[in-house]
């Protein structure tokens, strides 16, 4: 009996140790910083597009007026400061300020403060714009929430650039627990998204019988690339359909081991790239890939960014050298 109790105690201790290692091990900020840049850019673009016809979406005679939007929410905790804005001047002023916040987030200026503002602004727009939203907005809001948690300005940011100008020597990006918390939250949220997306698909006959991808490519309103030639390859359509369902459903298991993670991420690029190119949902495809970046280790992110920087500075050096030679020859 004592042995069983000891075994249980040991099991619980190992669970606690595992929990602490998973959540409370400091992580370097490079991956979170890249997510900040890309998610910030996506938030900026999303809200620039609203500005193409701001009055039609948020004005007093909008597609869904503020009153109708509140009625559609019903008695709920949904909120938005945009429900109370009627003046076009005030609406535009607030919208431009929102764009400034998203740009600051993208460039990593006052990251800690603007990440909170960006999240609040994002969910306020989402609540007001009921009826126009889709998966892009759900993921935008998710990423904005978790960018608040970690030190997303800890690398590749104007914050670091400004600190470098103030101090003689700037320390390397710091590994922090809050950065790890943010990354873990994005990782787990992505797992939950894919799991329920896969389970929901299993309720549909077309996802089970292999015909769902055809229904998607044959939808004219979604089509951005004509893939109807796939009709001559029903086995290929079935393969794409079944792979999509299995990949989504088992993502939450297979994304963690280091041997299967690269394959799952490669499939993410294939699936979301296909959605972006073939079904015209470029923004949704891209934002899902931004979420998947959470599974790239910071060391690998740092290597890739360094490589890009070296290639960029090399190209710049070659351009300067070439310019110098032309000058001499002239």
């Amino acid at each position: 009996m004592a042995a069983v109790v000891d075994a249980c105690r040991g099991y619980l201790h190992s669970l606690a140790d595992g929990w602490n290692r998973f959540w409370f091990t400091p992580a370097e900020p490079q991956t979170l910083a890249v997510i900040r840049i890309l998610a910030g850019a996506m938030l900026l673009y999303t809200h620039i597009v609203w500005a193409l016809d701001l009055d039609a979406f948020l004005g007093p005679d909008s597609w869904v007026t503020a009153d109708v939007a509140r009625a559609l929410h019903g008695p709920s905790a949904a909120w938005s400061y945009l429900w109370y804005i009627q003046s076009p001047l005030l609406l535009w002023t607030l919208h431009i300020l929102a764009l400034v916040v998203f740009a600051m987030l993208m460039f990593g200026l006052a990251s800690r403060v603007v990440s909170v503002l960006a999240w609040l602004i994002t969910i306020a727009y989402c609540h007001r714009l009921i009826g126009t939203l889709f998966g892009l907005d759900q993921i935008n809001a998710m990423l904005a929430m978790y960018l608040m948690v970690g030190d997303s300005g800890g690398a590749y940011s104007l914050d670091r650039l400004l600190r470098r100008r103030r101090t003689a020597v700037l320390a390397a990006p710091q590994a922090r627990v809050d950065t790890n918390l943010a990354i873990r939250l994005i990782q787990l949220h992505m797992c939950i998204i894919y799991l329920f997306s896969g389970l929901a698909k299993m309720e549909g006959q077309a996802w089970r019988d292999g015909g769902a991808v055809w229904l998607a490519v044959a939808n004219l309103e979604y089509q951005s690339l004509d893939l109807t030639w796939l009709v001559h390859y029903p086995v290929l359509i079935a393969l794409l359909t079944h792979v999509t369902v299995f990949w989504e459903t088992f993502y939450c298991v297979l994304i963690w081991p280091r041997w299967t993670r690269p394959m799952m991420l490669a499939l993410a690029v294939a699936v979301h790239g296909g959605i972006a190119i073939g079904l015209g949902m470029i923004t949704f495809g891209l934002v899902m890939l931004i979420g998947n970046l959470a599974f790239v280790p910071p060391s690998l992110t740092a290597m890739m960014v360094s490589g890009i920087r070296r290639r960029g500075s090399g190209a710049g050096e070659r351009a300067r050298t070439k310019g110098g030679k032309l000058k001499d020859e002239g």
Partner: protein
Amino acid sequence: MKDQAAQDASSPAQQVAWPWRWLISGILIMHLAAVFTAPFAFVSRPSPLGRVAAEFFQPYLEWAYLNHGYSFFAPQPGESHLVRYRLEFAGDREPIQGTFPDLDAQWPRLFYHRHFMLSEFLNLTFVAPQPPPAIARDPYVREQWQQRRELYVALRESFGNHLKAEYGAAEISLTRLSHRPPTFLEVQREQVLLSDERLYQALPEDRSEALPLWLQ
């Protein structure tokens, strides 16, 4: 024992004092439980456990815009829905007809997609004026039906008012359209195009083709 204590003191997790670790862990568990239970509220017949859990977390999920089902293209990709409108003007001005979404008029793609979501949302919100006789006897269903009908009418009027204001029109009529994808055989054997008129159908306003999702 001393080695274990020394090892514990130097482990990365010990950088966060245990009271903070407990507090943060509690918050994490609650947040992730909320996010996990949210999709349970979006199936057409949620389980009792799913319903109770989703109700518990509902205020947080609603406030933070986390109340989603993540059922992308699920249960299956289906037909699209568009809205055709006809605007009448006072005086001699000719009526204007149009449809949204309109890929030719709405660019970039995200801008088009926003209009696409509006037409889909109008269709999703549709409730016929009266419930089917078979379920109309239930007073709860009748009350829910009436509330949802009022929301649909308000939404439809909002769409109409917007278009009238945009064009300066006096009257408007809106028609919901469904556009189904052609089947394998239709494309393989008959070379039916995706834009074939036979694939479009005007949807009636006086009845539903199927029970709404919330009643299935």
